[in-house]
């Protein structure tokens, strides 16, 4: 490729994206559809600016998917992944098996025998990780129950590709053994080895990634960060992702899966945010490129010559997958609105299908004539996915609006100039906000609960609907000019996310944070936020005071006891923070702390009590040295 032709190519791709994506977003269709349309536009069937066989570009662009899974892994603490295991195996396994069996049964009933429909069923059970994750992320739905379930299934599909590649050749009409060795899928470097050695090598490779992530990456990044060269850090971050991919492909595993594991291992790393910030733009660009190539690759030829077949197959594919997914969401007791999101999100075929279809053709499981319509069908179903998201959002979810509140765009905030921003205006933030208002302090209030926003607005208080962890919203709320932000949202992770966002982009903005409890308080302290307030401390002490009074303690003594308790406990939560990471040390110190406290209160020995009210004691008999 000539330099100028490469530049020209880049120009075409970028221009297509820059023109169509904002248009699609403007129309509320999401960026994915914008990219796909851009692909169609510049593809061989419309403008013909890029060829249909843009295979090189496609392979390059697929790396965006790899990066996306790395980023998803970074967001996912290992403990969270462990919590997902039931969904991952149960929901994921049943989705793949259920869809495959359903399609196989339909095919068998249609007179295609059982081999070919079963192979097609397994292949079509895959969904598009790239499109689904991007769409969910863009809409802020990845952390919802429906989004989590979708993610679990996608992850299982990614893992299951490996055994599927091994098992599909067994469905070959002719004896597959002849060619299986020669035309192995990913041309991995360990094919010549015996099965058990391959297994050992794979386990060793994954273990190496985990160990390196735990022990080698942090010191390495520290050394690089010390050089102060920003671009070197970016290079190291890219090296990490590319390196893991190379190792994975060498042992025949999916690169996406490997980088996902690497991401999870690094989720606790102090460099997590740097990595995220460095990889994210590349991911965005490559993923966009990927969607464009998918758009350009849609075979309109087949759609033109046999529109009935392709449209019929596409509709049938979406319908079958949707029915299986929705049935599973019922079995797993996912709330209906989330079940709808889950079923609409995963109903399409995925990019793995392209790989698997060419693989089965090579292995004589399907003929080229059988596979080509399926390729077109999958591409069509992928292109429909953004539309399905819109359909779900506009027409399906509003039916559940009463249960959940309408799906709503964030409010437009005209630039605000109040000294205080309050994020979260529920039970907690509401009280803070009213106290400030009553004392003439101007506040800009953000809340993510549409119902709550309506209620508070009806009370005549101006509240903006929107996710405070969105940077643009914070800008609009006047975060550069405000003096401080009160973080009163009840989602603990979001609160921490907001702290990090504020510290990064508005370092001047003081933070006052609502903490759920001790553990949450430790998370704040880890980030240097000492102005945290445990949400139940005040009212539990109030209750404690009244119990002491009811049992006969003088009111003033009860109040002082509670204040003393509070002081001690606030100190303890700050002292113990340093031991939190170390289980044994933490509980040892916490125990000592409680014992010391009880002793202090229970003791009659004045010297041990360190009291602050000895001034009220009667003087020792015989000493008359004060009035």
């Amino acid at each position: 490729m000539h330099a100028d032709s490469m530049l020209l190519h880049a120009f075409v791709y970028l221009a297509a994206a820059v023109v169509s994506v904002p248009l699609a977003k403007r129309l509320g269709l999401g960026s994915v559809l914008g990219y796909l349309l851009a692909g169609v536009l510049i593809g061989p069937h419309v403008l013909g600016l890029v060829g249909q066989r843009s295979g090189d570009v496609m392979q390059f662009a697929e790396f965006g998917v790899v990066m996306m899974l790395f980023l998803v892994g970074l967001e996912l603490q290992p403990t969270l992944l462990w919590q997902m295991r039931a969904q991952l195996l149960g929901l994921g396994g049943l989705q793949v098996a259920g869809t495959a069996v359903a399609i196989a049964a339909l095919g068998a009933a249609g007179g295609f025998g059982w081999r070919m429909p079963l192979a097609a069923g397994v292949i079509l059970a895959m969904s598009s990780t790239a499109i689904v994750l991007q769409s969910l992320q863009e809409r802020g739905q990845l952390k919802t129950p429906g989004g989590q379930a979708s993610f679990a299934v996608l992850l299982f599909q990614d893992i299951s590709v490996i055994p599927i590649l091994a098992l599909l050749p067994l469905l070959a009409v002719k004896s597959a053994n002849v060619s299986a060795g020669a035309a192995a899928p990913a041309a991995s470097g360990i094919d010549g080895l015996a099965g058990w050695i391959q297994a050992v090598v794979i386990v060793a490779a994954v273990a190496a990634i985990v160990l390196a992530g735990r022990y080698a990456v942090n010191p390495l990044f520290r050394a690089i960060a010390k050089t102060g060269l920003r671009e070197l850090f970016s290079a190291a971050a890219l090296l990490l992702v590319v390196g893991v991919s190379v190792v994975m492909e060498l042992v025949g595993l999916s690169a996406a899966l490997g980088t996902f594991v690497a991401g999870v291992v690094l989720a606790n790393s102090e460099y997590r945010h740097e990595l995220e910030a460095d990889i994210d733009p590349y991911k965005g660009l490559l993923l966009g490129l990927f969607f464009i190539t998918v758009g350009a690759g849609i075979d309109f030829g087949l759609l033109r010559t046999e529109p009935g077949v392709i449209l019929g197959l596409g509709g049938a594919l979406l319908a079958v997958k949707f029915v299986v997914l929705f049935a599973l969401s019922r079995v797993f007791k996912i709330p209906t609105p989330d079940g709808m999101l889950f079923s609409f999100a995963l109903a399409q075929g995925g990019e793995f299908a392209f790989v698997l279809l060419s693989f089965v053709v090579d292995h004589h499981v399907l003929t080229r004539a059988e596979a080509d319509p399926l390729v077109a069908t999958v591409a069509l179903s992928m292109a429909c996915t953004p539309l399905l998201f819109v359909l779900n959002e506009r027409f399906v979810q509003p039916r559940f609006a009463r249960a959940r509140g309408p799906v709503r765009e964030a409010d437009q905030i005209e630039p605000q100039d109040n000294p205080v921003i309050i994020a979260g205006f529920g039970r907690f933030g509401h009280i803070v906000g009213r106290l400030l208002r009553a004392n003439g302090v101007g506040t800009t209030v953000l809340d993510l609960d549409a119902d709550q926003v309506e209620i508070v607005r009806r009370l005549g208080i101006k509240v903006f609907y929107g996710d405070a962890t969105r940077l643009d919203l914070l800008h609009a709320a006047g975060a550069e000019r405000a003096k401080l932000i009160v973080i009163a949202i009840d989602n603990e992770d979001k609160a921490i996310e907001l702290v990090e966002l504020v510290q990064k982009h508005f370092p001047r903005l003081k933070i006052f944070a609502r903490a759920a409890g001790r553990v949450h308080a430790y998370e704040f302290q880890k980030r240097g936020v000492m102005t945290f307030y445990r949400e139940t401390l005040g009212s539990s002490l109030d209750l404690g005071i009244d119990v002491l009074r009811d049992l006969g303690m003088p009111a003033h003594q009860a109040h002082r006891a509670a204040r003393r308790f509070k002081r001690h406990d606030e100190n303890a939560v700050r002292e113990l923070a340093q031991f939190w990471e170390d289980d044994d040390a933490y509980f040892k110190n916490a125990r000592q702390n409680i014992e010391a406290f009880d002793r202090m209160f229970a003791s009659d020995n004045a010297a041990e009590r360190h009291e602050s009210d000895r001034g009220w004691d009667p003087m020792p008999p015989g000493d008359v040295s004060r009035g």
């Binding site: 303690m553 009111a555 003033h556 109040h559 008359v624 009035g627």
Partner: protein
Amino acid sequence: MATRFRLLILFAHPAIQKSRINHRLAKAARAVDGVSFHDLYEAYPDFDIDVPREQALLLEHDIVVLQHPFYWYSCPALMKEWLDLVLEYGFAYGRGGDKLRGKTVLSALTTGGPENAYGREGLNHFTMRELLAPFEQTARLCGMNYLPPFIVHGSIRLVDAAELDRHANDYARVLAALRDGKINAARLANVPRLNSDLSAVGL
């Protein structure tokens, strides 16, 4: 039937659980019929005094007793806060501030030191009446009559149960006499403290 005056006892002790003499006096006072006993630290442990309520209480009574230990030649912090907030301009003094005029104030105190420590020869140099001048002048400014104080001295050596009982009993008698208007006002002028010789004031 003798005139009955309505008595309000404003009691201030920040650590009643440590008190030896004051809680005995308080107990005795509560038992006196027709007396309102108001424990300030119990009512306002957070120091957030309800001023209208306190002013209404004052208006309902004729004689106000300030009962408290004598800390650093004054009253405990909450009682000072009470004086600062409740005796408002326009209510207790100043233009229109005549609501308390004609009422009577009595200080009922306990001191750690003995009586002879309060005088030129003693450790405290000043007499009790001199040290209580701020309270007396507060009453004067409000147009109230300030009685000679009821004082239990030397509380730190007071361990004898019989003596404690005697003081509590004296306090109750003084309160009842005030209520019934039986204190001989003419004899009060030369009395250093109300309970130095109860017979001197007509009891």
